[in-house]
Symmetry: D2
Subunit: 373 residues, 4 copies
């Protein structure tokens, strides 16, 4: 079944395997009139690229994007935007026993169960390289959001036992930190923890948080395309994410109503405001005008250099070691992916919500109505 398309009005379709010809995405439904260059997209792709430091894989990936359609004279035309990133390394080489084995924690077995065939080279479609399409499309969504003054910012909030200190957050440090933590001290401790993981041929889980500011109230389409529901889908669809939280997230189960309700207060000037933001900016599935706040928990990279007991296509178990260099942690590289999926979902909802009221419909068609030809 077609499952590689996301969104209703701002709609993306990704394709591509890790060691095939390339990876790409078609963005359909992007409004016309938005300035867009390959540099806008390349900037985000470079942020997800591995090999930036020793905590990410040493594979040489030099992912150059090409805009194939939908942009004319540097401006989106409203037609589908096709983006292509060629894979560099498509050499035929020895994939050893990987074709015959199902790695623990990976989708190998599921793909063979589902499709009866699997492009096992580098994980095929279930590779982390699949996120290239998401990040490229996210860069386009970000351009749309910027036109409305909306900002989307993600960062790593925890790695293994190391969490950021909320009183020490410095967002300007995110891109300074090799692990994208907005807290220099926590970043240091996380690096030490990752050294331990590398030494013990292991990997570590972590969490990414995302904040969206200047989001208008009124986004979200109850009862199923609620804003939080679609964000949950968008984020849970990222490989390795096992939990999505909005606002206070799992902590709400310990809270009382009197604590969790965000009461309204008036400022000295008589302007009403929410005195707290336990809701994370969404109530009843609709944005409430406060900043959006969400968190994704990523499982540790399943590819570790220790020998593990794996299932074989022969139905037997085999203790084997997965060769190659792997990320001991993926949350740092996942930051632009979380931003991308958030931005794509918001772009879609901004367009979806344009049809909520007849007053809006008249605002468009009353003005653009041309003389009958």
């Amino acid at each position: 079944m077609a499952g590689s398309t996301f969104g209703t009005v701002f709609q993306i379709s990704t394709w591509g395997e890790s060691h095939g010809k390339g990876i790409g995405v078609v963005i359909d439904g992007c409004p016309s009139g938005i300035p867009l260059t390959e540099a806008d997209i390349q900037k985000e792709l470079d942020r997800r690229r591995p090999g930036q430091n020793r905590y990410t894989t040493a594979r040489a990936e030099n992912d150059q994007v090409e805009i194939l359609s939908g942009v004319f004279d540097g401006i989106t035309t409203g037609t589908p935007i096709s983006l292509l990133v060629r894979n560099q390394d498509q050499r035929s080489r020895d994939y050893g026993s990987i074709a015959e084995l199902y790695r623990p924690g990976h989708a190998d077995h599921g793909y063979d169960e589902k499709y009866g065939i699997r492009d096992y080279r580098g994980g095929g479609r279930s590779s982390g390289r699949e996120t290239i399409g998401r990040v490229a499309a996210g860069a386009v969504a970000q351009k749309l959001l910027k036109e409305l003054g909306i900002s989307v910012k993600a960062y790593v909030s925890s790695i293994g036992p190391v969490a950021i200190d909320r009183d020490a957050i410095d967002f300007s440090f995110i891109e300074e930190s090799p692990v994208r933590m907005p807290d220099p001290a926590a970043s240091e401790r996380a690096l030490a923890w990752l050294e331990d993981c590398i030494r013990s041929q292991d990997s570590s889980g972590g969490a990414v948080e995302c904040i969206v500011e200047k989001l208008p109230a009124g986004l979200g389409e109850p009862c199923f395309d609620k804003l939080d529901a679609n964000l949950a889908k968008a984020l849970m669809s990222i490989g390795a994410v096992k939990a999505v939280e909005i606002g206070d997230g799992t902590a709400v189960r310990y809270a009382k109503g009197s604590e969790n309700n965000d009461t309204y207060q008036e400022s000295e000037d008589g302007i009403p405001y929410k005195a707290s933001n336990h809701s994370g900016g969404i109530l009843g599935g609709i944005s409430d005008g406060s900043p959006l706040f969400l968190r994704c928990s990523f499982k540790p990279t399943p590819s570790i250099a220790q020998p593990q007991s794996m299932l074989g296509k022969d139905g037997k178990c085999h203790v084997e070691t997965i060769h190659g260099r792997h990320d001991p942690i993926i949350v740092a590289r996942a930051v632009p992916v979380v931003e991308a999926m958030t931005a794509i979902t918001l772009a879609d909802h901004l367009l979806l919500a344009m049809t909520s009221q007849m007053a809006y419909v008249k605002k468009i068609w009353g003005v653009t109505f041309t003389a009958q030809l």
Copy 2:
């Protein structure tokens, strides 16, 4: 925008407001040939009905379902199944100041921002009564799953500070417990905690877990309609849910790869099995043949009997008390809702995955191919 439809092949569309004429759902895409009676659906509706004990609202709701279409001689025909539950209480009455106020923690303000108009009677479309459509459709999905031997069971795992003891779980106790906890001792403690909440005119959050057994491997449509992604959407769309976790959920961020990977082992008879289920039955977005395990965190009921500072349509804050009887906890009544949304998502994925392989296509069309007329 149309947001009241969920699913691709097994597709539900709900409608209805709390104090309108009724609540209902249209289920389109349910295969023909499944036995279905009103009693099958009524049984589940009765489980979500309030007024069962003092921990749920005392409102008299007597929700009787009527099958309007799609069933002939007690068997589904493959055409849309329309289900209707008339609202009992549509008396015009005094809604007091609620029309002019936005309650904290509620969708009131969002609806007015989005639509410019709101059916404020009893919460309108954002009322908990909206889940009647979900539960009714879920009962139909459950019938489909039962035909394949798949079982879906949810229960309350925690209420406020009280959590079940995993070593003391007794699933046969779920419906015995007034709060649907599968642990008699925890259930007792939770009741005491709720007494405290009631006394202090407050409410409590909690969590619902769900286990699905006998689910075949191979369900899920990467990269966006992954099984966990669609479950996350389905569950986050339930009012009051603020977090969705699959398998180990948020705990994965503290784990190492060597701990989180579910390695394969061989039984004494040489049958391979997963030695653990940290994945919760889903790897790479595809079911892996293990039991599915998920958890939803519900925020405390926002309607509490304490005076709170609310935003008025006049742009001013007003300290008011919300009258009426309200649930101090919603997780107990949410159990059948979580089961319903899980069952609906699984029914859809079972149908979606039927087209994965050309071998499956031939299995259907090779057999049913009739002579050319």
Copy 3:
């Protein structure tokens, strides 16, 4: 598979069988703020009702609509609008041999082939009564169009050998004519032709044309959701329609480019206009600002009182007569159905096209942007 939903933003889902409990439709995505009463819908349902004269069936159908949701104080709220029409005649009665026979020209055999079961009472889901849901939803779409000054008008252009004279068209006569022909003389001849058909226990085909005025240019979403493509689907989905034509329709295959091109001319006042409308108001799948013009060809009612050779479930042929009173012609009653499907498609496209340009997006979100709470 779910096939009973039509539209993307303005989305309708119909349900119901001829002799089940009722027929209905859920309209999701209708903008808030449109005045809507049951009378608005009843008016259109009365136009499709049979028994108005001897050329339509004598069955007593008294189809009363009930608005179950989505309207508050006479105004649409933006939530799903559920409409219900109870079937009057659900008596269990003798359906004779119809359960065992597949009538020529009917969907009986197809339903049994597809679903393995069929509600054979009165045609079940394939009955003409299914159009009640379309007409009811169309009435809502018409209300939306009227807010923008767009009018949709259909009429019968031919019945058997009798066609209207285009120089004699009088639209004010449509509802005067028992066969909804806007040409009194042709209407008379058509009635005589239908008398012949009744006498010979036969039925007649015919055509319905539809004109839409004041439609803005710019509607249609290439390359697949073009305006003409979606209209073609909408209209071909009406039972008995075997051809859909836009503008000059099938005549274009005989035309030369110099004849078919609608050249632009300037009026005396220097206002440009299309000197002709061979395009029927759509070029390249996008409305061009001229009136929309389309035509549907309806096959003759397959239910005729003559004995016919039918296929039995026993695999044998049986010569039988279909009892009951049947319409010798359906085009007259199909007029409101064609209007409804046209209006629904246009309402959807008016909403779809609101997101075409970033300038439109800013027009909505720039104005409604509220202060951050």
Copy 4:
């Protein structure tokens, strides 16, 4: 709005402009296990390529397809299949006044009205080159159909005043005829007619018919995704198509029920069969087991070398001549496009209909059900 995606389960998304970097399509939902090579696709692209004779444009187009994903070792894997055709001629050149003028019969004006910007080079997205994506995807759909023994064959049935003689049809002549007519004598006359058109700097309309054999009964999803409804959309979405007919098409409006009903008869061996096929293989929106028959009417190429009065962006009319070589007829090149859209629609419906019956669901999941891991 996203309008460049077609299909529900077998889903295609096309992109690309005439003079941009290239044209392509992503096919999502194609089952795994189908042999597929670039040659399979190239063969069909070569059939739609211009420059084959003097009746098609002399432009040098050498459209080479590249499979970028979804195929491994020559077999589809079930993941998205991305196909790319690079445009050869992207030289910046003088587009003269075309950027400032709206050509009669073209989408130029509609695109500017809709999007406020238009890639005017060679028609941009509204160019006939857009059909490359359709034909490439259609080649994949054809491979799927062939696995089930279903054949799709289209041909030109008329060009201007010249129609094929139905008693003289010779399908083996289709590819012999420069205008793809299956009647040598008609083909000759059509060529003479086209010479006339060329001499008078004009173009001609025509019709394409399509026959599908060995299609199983039971395809089509009432009441909106009926097989004929989705075919009508698929075909009307092809540029220049102004009418779609199924079976007897527009002729049904002149027919009586006794003539139009396809009665069932028994062969000498007692096998039932339809004695005629006025229905064109579809009854009630569901395939009836007879051959599918449909017809599309194409308007004459709007690009003609005569001076015409055109609308300018300046709001004035200008008499100008469109330069460049253009097809005097497009139906010959449209034959593979009609086959493609028909095949894509049928592939989708074959997959959609797999979920109609619980018996089918059990057939798949009863067999593939693996041991719980």
